[in-house]
Symmetry: D2
Subunit: 416 residues, 4 copies
């Protein structure tokens, strides 16, 4: 019996998701919700979730609302009854899964960062370009592009309200590993995660600022630091990772004994300066050691006519300074981005009724569904995500001693 | 085939909802989500939604995720396959539906305010007390009791961290009808809504402050004001009500012609002073004319040892001043209420990843399900809600000329 | 030898000040500074300060910069070499000194509240009106009228930027006597102070809101409360009063023994509702028991077109919501009131360099000097101050059981 | 006739000031006020102010309160009746005046930055060290060290409340030359000012962060940018510079014709990364192009146990996060730094009554007077200021192409 959503939508998109930890929970919430809130030309059906541990993935399917659970992602991406593959695994498996899925004709939504290396990312772009020729879509999950206040920032920039962009000031500040006893989870291991704060949260501010300004970073100079160089190996039962929906399987692949320690092989913090191709200069900082800053993604952009400032801990708000207003009335206007004429918000609650973190994912899959159904290219494309990857790589090189480092171009695709 | 949630939960609660406008959408989101996030001893199944307009309610069922739609609430509350009746209609039908549902042995969740008159509310309390004797549960939907920061406020008060309560300062400020051309929707008609700002949003701050302080209001003195006394009748196609999930059916029962106007029969604003039975003095203000304040429910409570302050527009935050700290370090601490040891938050995202308005409803049905499954009385009970009703009534009397007015007691039930 | 200021100014105003505690220190700072910052048609010369304790007033003269100290205010106001009498004593002596000084042809600046009773205030108005006929000026020291952000509020209202005023929300929150061991200083004794929070800080928000809105309060209904009814008598050496410039002589007239206590004869808090003659409704609250709020004078005014909000703890800022802006850009603009085109600010530092509490007094004496020199009437006049007094009196009556109480008119003088 | 302040103080310090523009006005306010507020072992007497334009400096003396005006600084520093030389000129004359004054046995207060070049600064340090041997004191005017909230930050760090310092995040954001028509004032000319944003405001955050953390910068990597490369020459009557007390003589030495333009020879913005010798990593940014940020000196310091954050536009506040508090109560505490037990504040107003920008100078001369009177070395010493100069120089070298650049040591003096 067809679900009413599908009748209304006219078309069904059958989703298979790989990975079911923090990101898997967030994506599941989005797939469950999107057609309840938005009128879309296709309806998502949550067919199967995939993981290595059969019992754990079955429990996750049950909790998160997937029709079935499977343990072989290769089988999953080959199934005829799957239209979309949603990749929520650690970065070391993104390339293999995404390339296989695209080759099998599945639309792919891949969590960020796109890959752990530029080489993998380039291969994924090649696969996406080949698939695009057949109408198969690929998108990378930089979900903060879908925060309404972020879209509003981009609109203000695009409408010329900021004038010429002079400064970008971006920081993503967290503090979840300040305690040296916090265990050596996969996010602190280079072979799993590629890098530390740089790729995990630095990637977000690189993508977000390129998206909002419409400018690309051309060169960087940076440093990375690992403050705590050795950490306890995680135990299976430890209080290690995150809470609630985020917790399950975040420790997958982790060690055993409580007393043992291992080396932290990624950066705790990455700082860099940059120049953008529209003439702006920028500071970027990503750290997991900003005590008290739980999840402070902060961006400020100064232009010749105005300024915007955003903080993810207050994601329903945007501060906008319009320097063309009369002098005595100028100031930072705290826009509560909950009006019907704000991006995405007409579908939600009345003005002043705020939304949360998870809504960015609902908006992300909303746009992905629409792109698939209307045959357009979703953004951020894999090319966009490669652009982030190239910056991450340049920062790593710079921090390793290269000083100012230029970013390679990605000529094949129109800029953001 | 049983849903995995039910197997996990061990028991199914079959829900029938009456009304499907703003509150219906919010409750549906909650019922859909609650078992995906919380581990509970029972699982909600969204069996049927009820409304007068068959086509409209069918569309709502489809969008909101109900298995079927019906048009006769009397038939719905009599069905054997319904365990819970969730009442989301305007206040003028609460009493009739709730009493019938309780008589039929259904657990009832009734939106606030409990009723349009004290008489109705008293009859509902009688019904709830009779039902309670048979293990049938009744709860009123003052959802802001389930905002984590609000629960944290209550805990701080209950733990003695504020000392003796001196002041309560409560305001619920909105601005959605500042424009005199905003139409005469049902919320502006006394026969449908009972009162205006007073019962709609004033009720929230009355309940919330009694809940947080554990003190009951003993006397009030107030005024009400209707700034715009005549408004255009709503047209069927008008831009009248709220956006998105909130919009449908908010205009039910509204008039026709565009040029015609009608009298506003409720208050635009209600202001009152109060004394509480623990010795605190208080100011309350509810208004729909606070230009720029979209949804600013603000509460501040000053005690001899500390202060808490809350604003619904930043519902993930609580300001706490602890006057027992060293003088040079005192100040208002902005607690981001997203930690695993904050109420409800262990089930959601990692620290710093904020939640939204709708989560208060998810928490509400979470607690309601748990109360039913464990055979305990959910709060706010109908008695608690009657207490609010008695205050609303006293404010109306006071504003009509009675001056200081005492609140009648509700002796039958332990205080909050 | 004439001071350069006087040559520049062309005229000298010789000041005699009575009282030298908190307000005396603040006024001295203002007299010392005003001609250094503002170009004025007259220059203040700090001739003499008067107090009962010869040694203490001599020390104060030395510290605060007065040429001499005297102990007999009657002699002071009679001196030929005094042009202006500045009254900084407790309220119980205002009337006698002011009336004598005006009769002697001295311009008078009298600290607020004007008097301890309406009768005294009326007599002072009579004296001021008689003096006015001879070009002798009288002004009451409601210094917050001279905070630049407050003047900006008034300008926005006067320019129609708020439209029709709907709501006034005013609170003056302090917490300096939350500790029950804080001693029984003169401000807690009715015979000295007239009233407690009501006259001390409630008077400020009454005057300020009447000034900003241009509306007068027509009726009030209120309550007062004394939470701590008995306090230790202050010792001569106790840590009783305020700090620094504020401290000296605040305990004048206080008792002796440490163990003894006495009754608090004034209110700790006063709350009232009000209606204004332009149609606005209002809440007012003045308290010394708002734990953590050191000096939070907060005013918010909602109009049909906009809102302004102010907090004295951030006195360089004004929040302004302009509801005529495009919907997606509306919000509260935090105006940093430090621009050259903001009131008084062209004389101070560059934009963004903030001013402090004491600057309000510098602005006050600036305007007073200018009024004297140009032969115009300074505001707030004694009539304006009487209007505050009548509201204070009505609140006291209301709190004593009178319920809603009308404010008597002061017909003799144009409204603010 | 001795001023009472001197009798009380027991000793007089006779001040001669060179320069009377923005900084001259600020210092004058401080000298006039300091003995009125603080009990000190010596009293300042404002003997003479010096400038090149006899009429202008005479007017300034009159306005600012100096006994006389002179035009030859060499004569001034040689006078027997001068004890202290206060240097408020542009940076190009600091070295010559300071060295001469020290050689003449005068205590010297020199505005920041100490000099325009490292060579000059080194010569000044030599002079200061020679003078120190004779009890003659030298101090550099980094006035923000005297903001009470800044001192509180330093105390918290020094007391170990932040644990190990991980991150320093410093920005000084202004926007007064965003308009390309703003004229080419002396601050935009390398020969007068040495550098642009870097030395003018970047110097402040370098000094402030070294002071607060007790760590010294060891290496930097940065960039500078000049966004507007050509500007109109200032006219004598132009609206060019700042307002009020700040305005006079800011244009000294400026050109003539309105149509003519000239090259901007300093940086509009300087950004750099740094490492500190205690292990912290840092970002620094100084810009005059941060539209809407009038005077936003912002510093945040993250340690293993806590964080402090400061913004000069709200200089009475300090945000402190104490990570040793119970998890559910952690957050940023907004400390209103106006308590008697906060640095300097016991001398001012009661709690909650804020101070302004100019008070930092009053505190600066307070400490300078005390150091002279008690025979101790005031800080920041010229050595401290040289440390800033070396960082400025390294940033310039780095920005010119040197990449990561080490800071030379200043071994002769104990670190801050």
């Amino acid at each position: 019996m067809p679900d009413g959503r599908q009748v209304r939508a006219g078309r069904q998109l059958r989703i298979g998701m790989v990975g079911y930890a923090f990101m898997g929970a967030a994506h599941s919430q989005a797939w469950r919700t999107v057609n309840r809130v938005f009128d879309l030309p296709a309806a998502a059906r949550m067919v199967a979730v995939c993981g290595r541990d059969a019992a754990a993935v079955a429990a996750a399917a049950d909790r998160l609302g997937w029709e079935e659970s499977v343990t072989d992602w290769r089988a999953l991406v080959a199934r005829d009854d799957i239209d979309v593959v949603d990749i929520c695994t650690p970065g070391d498996s993104h390339a293999e899964i995404a390339i296989a899925a695209l080759a099998a004709g599945k639309h792919v939504l891949c969590e960020k960062p796109l890959a752990n290396t530029v080489e993998e990312a380039r291969a994924m772009v090649d696969a996406a370009q080949a698939a695009r020729a057949h109408g198969v879509r690929a998108m990378c999950g930089y979900n903060y592009r879908r925060v309404p206040a972020v879209v509003l920032m981009r609109q203000l920039v695009a409408d010329g309200r900021l004038g010429e962009i002079r400064h970008v000031r971006a920081a993503y500040l967290q503090d979840w590993i300040v305690d040296p006893q916090f265990p050596l989870v996969w996010r602190l291991q280079r072979d799993k995660a590629g890098s530390g704060a740089l790729g995990d949260i630095g990637a977000h501010i690189i993508d977000l600022t390129q998206y909002v300004t419409g400018q690309l970073i051309t060169e960087v100079c940076g440093l990375t630091e690992t403050f705590v160089k050795e950490r306890p190996l995680p135990s299976a039962t430890g209080p290690a990772a995150s809470s609630g929906l985020a917790a399950s399987a975040e420790l997958a692949g982790a060690g055993s004994g409580d007393a043992a320690t291992g080396p932290v092989t990624v950066d705790d913090a990455a700082l860099f300066l940059a120049r953008l191709d529209g003439g702006a200069v920028a500071t970027y900082e990503a750290t997991r050691f900003a005590t008290g800053r739980r999840n402070a993604l902060r961006v400020e952009i100064n232009g010749s006519l105005g300024t915007v400032a955003f903080d993810l801990e207050r994601l329903n708000e945007l501060e906008f300074h319009d320097a063309t207003r009369p002098g005595a009335e100028q100031g930072f206007t705290r826009i509560l981005v909950t009006e019907p004429d704000h991006p995405y918000m007409a579908a939600w609650w009345p003005p002043g009724h705020i939304i949360g973190y998870e809504h960015s994912f609902t908006h992300e899959v909303r746009d992905f569904i629409e792109a698939i159904a209307t045959g357009t290219d979703p953004r951020p494309s894999f090319e966009d995500a490669l652009r982030v990857q190239l910056v991450l790589d340049a920062v790593s090189c710079s921090a390793a001693g290269a000083g100012w480092t230029s970013i390679q171009e990605v000529p094949a695709y129109p800029r953001v």
